[in-house]
Symmetry: C2
Subunit: 245 residues, 2 copies
């Protein structure tokens, strides 16, 4: 945990008393004592500094000061075919760490139907996983979550209203364009579509291409879903940083 | 499994009979029937094609033809501070998928001593994890594995003989050089050092810098170990692909 995240309600108190895993982390991992400072953030809000005022076996009390400027929300989108539950859990946490502003979970042809019944897909569970990822990556904005269990209606009726323009890519092992040939303006919003194990089927790739998703390949070696997300996110981040536009 | 990996001994048989998880995979995931073809590879050897000759509940029999050219072994090195066991398992598999030619596990200051007693560190276990990663990434060369439980003797006495020249980087969140500023020749061997949670301590970073490791930061957001490996591997791959040297 690199950032202690608080809800807006918690942060409104002049003295914040924590009794949950966050208190445990401060006590047992950070081993903080009164007077120590910790980085804090308000969910969907500002960063700040917390000063530990009291540590007991049942609670930790902090006094926090927050910055006045709220960081901008990322406009990047991860479009992800629902993987099997343990992978989904890691992908959600990782996507929040990597700074995607929204995550769209879709059922594509090769998604196993059983994955859709997973407990990981319960909204409170996903929210908790996203918050873990934010705390890891020192970010405050929880990614917006969308879920579509039918591919075609999603692409035809919802995609354009959810994804705000920007540069769009779909990772595809047999695509002709290598990521190293791309140029992406520094301030562009980026959408990244990642298929299930075995990939999107040709119909799905074409449907995404028709909506402006460029098929790109990161290399000839198939990557697991969670590896592909980090690998391509790293490349897209680097390409934007290289840009002089 | 995107590649069926065989040992050299197995591959020497004109008819190869499998009874383990590979047979199960062919039967239950690929649902192959006699006459079907599968991609095969010899560990540390050539790729080939296997034709399924027989499928029963207890065994699968294949006839394989291998290419004459053995792919080159990667000269890339991953230098990894031993993470906690489940993360280590995923890191090993991922590193094999990503094509590191060798993996050096080291104990740095912030590595929890208990991690070194993990069963994951048993050589047969690590080998199995690496083979899973190769099968995912369609690669045949098993990364060489080294392990050093003392940082200073490793850096002073062993590093130079194990890592063959090349470009060397250590991921460090507060480094001044961003990866987007790097230029890496297309054919350069690359070494990537990734610290434990909390990072390498300043002494360790300096020791690595003294051996030519350039400290680079991928961005201001701390990444989990496994995310950092994929994120930076993606960037280093892209930088080499962009090079005209």
């Amino acid at each position: 945990m690199n950032l202690l995240l608080l809800t807006a309600v918690e942060a409104a108190d002049p003295l914040i008393r924590l009794r949950d895993d966050r208190a445990k982390h401060i006590r047992e991992v950070l081993r903080a004592t009164p007077g120590d400072q910790v980085r804090v953030g308000i969910l969907d809000g500002a960063f700040g500094r917390g000063i530990i005022r009291n540590v007991s076996s049942s609670a930790v009390t902090l006094e926090c000061k927050f910055e006045e400027i709220i960081p901008a929300r990322s406009e990047d989108t991860l479009l992800l075919a629902v993987p099997r539950p343990p992978v989904l859990a890691r992908c959600l946490t990782q996507a929040a760490t990597l700074g995607f502003g929204q995550i769209i979970l879709i059922r594509s042809w090769r998604v196993d139907k059983s994955h859709l019944a997973s407990k990981v897909l319960a909204v409170p569970t996903m929210r908790q996983l996203l918050i873990e990822g934010l705390a890891q990556g020192r970010r405050t904005h929880i990614p917006a979550l969308h879920r579509f269990d039918l591919f075609k209606p999603f692409v035809e009726d919802h995609l354009e209203s959810i994804i705000p323009g920007g540069h769009r890519f779909v990772g595809h092992p047999s695509a002709e364009t290598q990521t190293s040939k791309l140029h992406i303006p520094k301030t562009a919003a980026v959408s990244l579509a990642i298929g299930p194990e075995g990939g999107f089927i040709p119909f799905e790739v074409r449907a995404l291409q028709d909506r402006g998703f460029q098929a790109v390949q990161a290399g000839p070696h198939p990557l697991r879903v969670e590896t592909a997300i980090a690998y391509l996110a790293g490349q897209l981040h680097l390409l934007r940083n290289q840009s002089t536009d």
